[in-house]
């Protein structure tokens, strides 16, 4: 089995050390981009989600507008707007902002963060809204303040409820990151496109990269499964 695989590996034109290195660089970029986008997105989404769940329309409406705008437009369009749009603003190229925006990585990261934060906000809001009224009433009866209630009762159970939906968002973000290649970032898909264009071998170049995405997705699914088993143990039936 292994020998057959090695033989296949030896007599092909595409998978030589330079192209494998190119794929590796792409993998590193994809992982960096997705990890940073999810981390920053989650940090932003937590307060936004709490505000979005507020009963005060002056607090929840502006957040609704933000999530509506970013969930209602394609990520590709958002990326184009942030990447090409910012370059057109007059005077921006002389400002300190250009240090960040000149490279393709940061505009792309900004687009991904804003997009995933919008989806995550709605996931958190839904999970908070689903908190049983009885739990909140009991907490109020104990004399807990709003913040204490949030910290001890609402958020811990909302986090658990939101986890399955959030694991989907993480996987979607990984897949959506493939559009980074349209703004010259060499992520996994970008590497595959470069190698396809160089060797005119679309099938080999893309099937390889598809397998890497599958492996990454598997790791994510496995991690979330473990996490859910641990955090939601109290919801599992006794067997």
């Amino acid at each position: 089995m292994l020998e057959a695989f090695l033989a296949l590996f030896a007599d092909n034109d595409i998978f030589n050390p330079p192209t494998l290195l190119h794929y590796w660089d792409g993998l590193v970029t994809t992982v960096q981009l997705v990890f940073l986008a999810l981390l920053i997105g989650l940090i932003i989404a937590l307060p936004l989600g709490i505000m979005r769940a507020s009963d005060n329309p002056w607090i929840s409406r502006p957040i609704w507008l933000y999530t509506y705008a970013f969930r209602g437009t394609p990520l590709l369009v958002q990326l184009y707007l942030i990447y090409y749009g910012t370059a057109q603003i007059s005077g921006i190229q002389e400002s300190f902002l250009w240090e960040i925006l000149a490279d393709a990585f940061y505009p792309c990261l900004i687009a991904f963060v804003l997009n995933t934060a919008a989806y995550t906000t709605e996931i958190i809001r839904g999970a908070i809204k689903a908190t049983p009224r009885g739990e909140i009433e009991a907490a109020k009866a104990y004399g807990m303040s709003w913040f204490l209630r949030l910290r001890r009762i609402v958020l811990p159970s909302a986090m658990r409820r939101g986890l399955p939906a959030y694991s989907n968002e993480v996987i979607f973000m990984l897949h959506a990151s493939s559009i980074a290649s349209v703004v010259t970032i060499v992520d996994l898909t970008g590497a595959a496109r470069d190698i396809y264009a160089r060797y005119y071998a679309p099938f080999d170049a893309f099937i390889f990269v598809a397998c890497i995405y599958l492996c990454l997705t598997f790791v994510l699914i496995f991690t979330f499964r473990k996490l859910e088993n641990k955090l939601m143990a109290h919801l599992r039936p006794l067997s």
């Binding site: 090409y84 370059a87 057109q88 190229q93 250009w98 000149a102 490279d103 393709a104 349209v182 010259t184 060499v186 970008g190 496109r193 470069d194 396809y196 264009a197 160089r198």
Partner: protein, 251 residues
Amino acid sequence: MKKLTMTLACVLAFSSASLFAKDWEMVRIAVDVPYEPFEYKAPDGSLTGFEIDLGNAVCADIGVKCEWTIQAWDGIIPGLLARKYDAIMSSMSITEERAKKVLFSEGYYNTPSGWFGKKGAGIDVSDKASLKGKKVGVQRGTLQDNYVSDNLGDVVEIKRYTTADDQVLDLKGGRLDLVFVDFPVGEQTILKDENYEAVGDLVKLGDGVGVAFRKRDKDLAEKFNASLKKLKENGTYKKIMDKYFKYDIMI
């Protein structure tokens, strides 16, 4: 008896075809218009352009009559194989994939590739060390991409684009220091903005553009090759070239 007649018929058919092929009185040539300045229609409706003039000169030289056929690019090779015309002179670059289907003459022109950058940036493209860390835009998978990757891949940062428009946008947006494209493309897009200029020498890449024939018409291809060589040597080619171009495209 039936078999014998069939064989005879086949032999006759083939020999008459080959007899016919030897004797070219008229060559029908396909072009896809407009593709300025190689082929386009003059205000009076007549076909004109570099390839039209060159094709007519070749025909006059080998003593045949040229007839030009306008054919859309998508069907230009199938039309040749279906004998709707005998040759294609429509800026068709010689590539391995096309050479499997058609017979190419020697290349008769090759537009150079050029470096473009902001005016007054003072970048010297011939000095490899000074290019260190510069951001260079190319179109993915083109000859220019291969050239920059192979020669400068270790010093410059290469940004690959799907279309030429995107890379021009990023040059003007200030994300690229240099762009390396087909010179006529750069001339049409980048040099229209007077803040940008061509930098350094032009570079010729690839095998250029050739006349395409059916594989069986080797005799016609040989005639064209001999004639093109003669026109290049006696200055007719240069005269036609100077009429349309400010730079050298002869190969």
